[in-house]
């Protein structure tokens, strides 16, 4: 039962004013501009876009400032903003094979068409804090190397030529991609819907689950077939034009995880796959997503479902950090009436318990006396 209780308006207004003050901090320190966040905290911006499920760098930067750097709060703000906008439609599916690649590595093939491109990576850095960065040192322009534009086919296509890997995931011909922003979750769910949920899922949650599969909970022997990061063009079919209208480009990260599979009654021994695709530059998230995608396909391959990462309802129901934080954090809101009811109940139970104890002790005394 909910009972309306009034009060606290002034306290709430003052708390919000205090929040605004603390958010701004010391006024002698210059206020952050959104372009500084977009340019210099770019991966934080990418995380908010990915889990907020909205590609707009400036809005993500605004959300980060407004949330004082609390990423889940920022993601919440972006999700809420989305609901205020009309929807123009679904884009044509992006072609990651035609990506303007900024990074592309494969752990399965050394020499592959297009080569290994390290791009702007933290890999091979020494993870030593850099005092010069704190001092605001100037940064040199990056090196350039003239080269012919080379085609960069996805690694999965190379393995496919030998027939040793399952094909890209197909759905029935007349299947319309599901959309979790339009319809409630239903289990079991098709892989396309699962991928949508995973792509906006919490990076930490997916990372932990992916890690658990490596440690033996649903082990499936993964290799990074390929990680690629770069810009892909978007196109939208609209009624007023006879061709798909180009919208511009977005940066995405794609991971093709290749997994060993010994075969089953239904399928010959071959490599299977997990797939990750997320907004922005985030290979940790794309890799974790691919590990989870593969683990969640257990029943497709007749594997025993024995671990958390294979449990679709468990993984998908708990992967959304906006829902998770909403339910966990609501516990701190007033529950005075609920609690009073429980307090009454516990008092009554305690009184009954004590009465039983006392009656028992009295009985023991009487028996001892006799």
């Amino acid at each position: 039962m909910y009972v309306a209780v009034k009060g606290g308006e002034a306290a709430i207004a003052n708390a919000h004013a205090l929040l605004a003050d603390r958010r701004r901090g010391d006024r002698s320190v210059p206020a952050l501009r959104l372009d500084q966040i977009v340019e210099q905290l770019a991966l934080g911006v990418d995380r908010v876009m990915s889990e907020g499920s909205l590609y707009d760098r400036e809005l993500a930067a605004l959300a980060i400032v407004q949330a004082r750097g609390d990423m889940i709060e920022a993601i919440f703000l972006v999700r809420a903003y989305r609901t205020t906008l009309p929807r123009f439609g679904y884009t044509k599916a992006i072609d990651t094979g035609a990506m303007l690649v900024e990074r592309r590595v494969s752990a399965t093939y050394k020499d592959l068409p297009g080569g290994q491109l390290l791009g702007p990576t933290f890999d091979y850095t020494h993870r030593l804090l850099d005092p010069e960065l704190a001092a605001g040192r100037d940064v040199a322009e990056p090196q350039q190397r003239a080269s012919e534009a080379e085609a960069m086919p996805r690694v999965s296509a190379i393995l496919a030529r030998e027939g040793l890997i399952e094909p890209d995931g197909d759905m029935p011909q007349d299947h319309v991609p599901g959309d979790i922003t339009r319809e409630p979750l239903e289990f079991p769910m098709a892989r396309d819907i699962r991928l949508q949920a995973l792509s906006r899922g919490d990076e930490g949650f997916l990372l932990a689950l992916g890690y658990s599969t490596q440690r033996g909970y649903a082990r499936n022997h993964p290799f990074v077939g390929e990680v690629r990061i770069g810009e892909v063009e978007l196109e939208l079919d609209v009624a007023e034009l006879p061709f798909a209208v180009p919208l511009g480009s977005v940066r995405v990260t794609e991971c093709q995880m290749v997994n060993q599979f010994k075969g089953s009654a239904k399928a010959p021994p071959q490599f299977t796959r997990g797939y990750g695709l997320v907004f922005g530059q985030s290979e940790r998230k794309a890799m974790a997503m691919a590990l989870c995608d593969r683990a969640l396909r257990a029943s497709e391959f007749g594997e025993d479902v024995v671990a958390a990462a294979q449990d679709e309802e468990f993984v998908i129901s708990h992967s959304d950090n906006v829902q998770a934080t909403g339910f966990v954090e609501h516990l701190k809101l007033p529950h005075y009436v609920d609690f009073q009811a429980e307090l009454d109940l516990v008092r009554r139970m305690r009184a009954e318990h004590d009465a039983r104890e006392n009656a028992g002790k009295a009985e023991e005394k009487r028996e001892a006396a006799e």
Binding site: M49, S53, L54, Y55, D56, E58, L59, R82, L85, R87, F88, Y90, T91, A93, I94, T96, G97, L100, D111, Q116, L117, L118, P142, Q143, Q144, A146, S147, R154, S156, A157, D168, G169, D170, M171, P177, G178, I180, T181, R191, D192, L195, Q196, S199, L234, L236, V238, P242, F243, V245, P246, L247, G248, S249, V250, V252, E254, Y275, L277, V278, F279
Partner: protein, 153 residues
């Protein structure tokens, strides 16, 4: 005639792609330098909405929904009758309006050349050079493997 129509559509699409990829600031600057007319009747927008971005399972399989992106669109009509459209990622309303006008002006045979040389060509050149620089910077991080010969033969 059908071939000509297809070529026109491909060209118009390329013009719209260039405008969508370019920044609002670049479009405004070139527009002012070129002195292109900016009077047009707004039929729709500029208005911001969402598109849902689709990917493919495994890269080339069945489509699935990845997430949403902001898009701003505008539709304009010139006094001469041409109707122009713009859809572009982001929330830049002025860019959407100017790009829709540019699309309309481009459809006017008398103005097409001017729009192409003074607006589209410089935008395209800037985009191409930015893309080329990015490609060259990435290429500098390409791993050149070499084999270490150990011991004597």
């Amino acid at each position: 005639m059908r071939g000509q129509e297809a070529r026109d559509q491909a060209q118009r699409k390329a013009v719209m792609a260039t405008l969508a990829q370019s920044t609002g600031d670049d479009i405004v600057r070139l527009w002012n330098e070129a002195g292109l007319p900016s009077e047009a009747e707004l039929l729709r927008g500029p208005e911001t909405g969402l598109v849902t971005v689709r990917g493919r399972i495994g890269g080339g399989g069945a489509p699935f929904n990845v997430g949403e992106a902001t898009v701003t669109r505008a539709t304009v009509r010139l006094a001469s009758g041409q109707v122009g459209h713009c859809y572009a990622l982001g929330r830049d309303r002025q860019k959407a309006k100017l790009a829709a006008i540019a699309d309309a002006l481009w459809q006017d045979p008398a103005l097409r050349r001017e729009v192409e040389t003074k607006l589209i060509a410089p935008l395209q050149a800037a985009l191409a050079s930015a893309r080329e620089r990015r490609r060259a910077e990435t290429a500098a991080t390409k791993v050149d493997f070499f084999t270490m010969v150990r011991g004597e033969d």
